[in-house]
């Protein structure tokens, strides 16, 4: 794929680098990269990849732009609030570099569509905000032979790793199973706005290196970054012989949605109640409230709300869970992640519409009762 005269001018600073040069820039032009999640990580990654001249750039995101996204998602501006992020991102990147083919995927990635979407790309950048999506993306990359550059963030900390088929351990070798509910996302935990800028830029750097075939990628190495301490650490990890997807006897032969998988639409339908609202409701005793604590029994034993009933989240992933016959049910957990899924699963199973405690028992502890042990 040869460069035009205009492209030679535009990418002259790359052409001056002996490591990239014309041959490297032509590889970048021929590259097909899919960015999963056009959010905090996806924004800087996609901007730099578009600026660098990646010929085909896909952006997958199901969400619409929210005002709270603008603190870190630098692809967008205030005029776009309420619009689908994938479409906004496509327009922004097309304006930045009109020569590229930018494809918007305003959809939710799931087992049923991952193969068709991945077919048009060679390299995947994972900047999703859901742990279930991270495993789906990893498994699909291993099964379909795609390179994967994965990063994730939490408050002031980030981590990144790179996978190349046949050359490196995969994300499941690093973290074999998802820990849904124990791994909060940005909405639940908060995040320093500039943090994904660092990690997303590292992802773009890795992508350019892999495409051009230069440098040493983050294969078998987990890079962690602590913004508060301004410290990077690197940890080596190996391929697991018992890895479920890339091990010697893999048990995953096709991408699959995890047990109890909820679509974003189902999660967005769940209604929330704040800790102070719940406290008032319980005090008023106007109507019977059933409190369902969906944490594990050991967590429940340490401390829980009075009259709460313990039904761990896992029970909602199986049919036939019995719920108390209260007029109104409120689901609680530690941070609000597990109760959100439990609410969605209970509703899907035909149960009564339930509320979930926003921010979980941590919010209750912070705003209502500091003596609650968690």
């Amino acid at each position: 794929m040869t460069l035009s005269a205009a492209e030679r001018r535009r990418y002259s600073r790359h052409l001056s680098l002996a490591e990239i040069g014309v041959a490297g820039q032509e590889k970048i032009k021929a590259a097909r990269v899919l960015v999963i999640g056009a959010g905090g990580l996806g924004s800087p990654a996609a901007l730099y990849l578009a600026a660098a001249g990646v010929g085909t750039l896909g952006l997958l995101d199901f969400d619409r732009l929210d005002e709270s996204n603008l603190q870190r998602q630098v692809l967008y501006d205030a005029a776009g609030i309420g619009a689908p992020k994938a479409e906004l991102a496509r327009a922004r990147l097309a304006a930045l570099n009109p020569e590229l083919r930018v494809v918007a995927h305003p959809t939710e990635l799931c087992a049923a569509n991952v193969r068709a979407i991945f077919a048009d790309y060679d390299l995947v950048i994972d900047g999703s905000d859901r742990i279930a999506t991270r495993y789906l993306v990893n498994d699909a990359c291993v099964l379909y032979g795609k390179a994967l550059i994965s990063a994730a963030i939490h408050r002031f900390e980030g981590q990144a790793m790179t996978y190349v088929p046949q050359r490196a351990p995969c994300y499941r070798c690093l973290f074999p199973e998802p820990a849904e509910g124990l791994v909060p996302n940005c909405a639940e935990a908060g995040v320093l706005g500039v943090l994904p800028g660092v990690l997303g830029t590292i992802q773009a750097t890795e992508a350019i290196k892999l495409i051009a075939g230069i440098g040493t990628p983050l294969l078998g190495r987990l890079l962690t970054y602590d913004a508060l301490e301004l410290r990077f650490h690197e940890f080596r990890f190996s391929r697991r012989r018992d890895c479920a997807v890339c091990g010697e006897r893999p048990t995953i032969s096709a991408p699959q949605d995890p047990p109890g998988f909820c679509t974003l639409e189902e999660l967005q339908r769940v209604r929330c109640i704040s800790a102070s609202q719940l406290a008032r409701l319980l005090e008023s005793a106007e109507r019977p409230i059933g409190l369902i604590d969906v944490r594990e029994p050991a967590e429940f034993a340490l401390g829980h709300l009075p009259r709460a009933v313990n039904i761990p989240l896992g029970r909602f992933e199986q049919p036939g869970v019995a719920l108390p016959g209260a007029l109104e049910l409120v689901f609680v957990c530690r941070s609000g992640v597990r109760s959100l899924r439990a609410c969605a699963l209970a509703r899907r199973a035909g149960g009564p519409e339930a509320l979930q405690l926003e921010g979980g028992l941590l919010a209750w502890q912070a705003g209502v009762d500091p003596s609650l042990l968690l």
Binding site: L222, F235, L362
Partner: protein, 88 residues
């Protein structure tokens, strides 16, 4: 002799926000027990009821990864508690 334990961000709610703390123990098991005495509840987030390190947690003693709670820890050897993150 106390070791420095570097704490992953999701676990810092137990350490009152501290990125690194001190704990004592000649084995990983003893060190995690001491850590739990100082910061109640933190061990359960890393080790399950079957006494296995949870599958979204990695523990490095120095630069060496360990899956074994009986792993010996030398004085002053740093311990890193790594947790899968999901934010994007």
């Amino acid at each position: 002799m106390a070791c420095t334990v570097h704490v992953a961000s999701p676990l810092r709610e137990y350490t009152r926000g501290a990125a690194s703390v001190h704990a004592r123990g000649h084995t990983l098991e003893a060190l995690l027990a001491d850590l739990d005495r100082r910061y109640p509840g933190i061990r359960f987030r890393m080790v399950d009821e079957q006494q296995r390190i949870r599958r979204h947690i990695r523990i490095f003693v120095g630069t060496q990864e360990t899956h074994d709670l009986r792993q010996a820890i030398a004085p002053r050897q740093p311990v890193h508690l790594i947790c899968a993150l999901s934010g994007g």
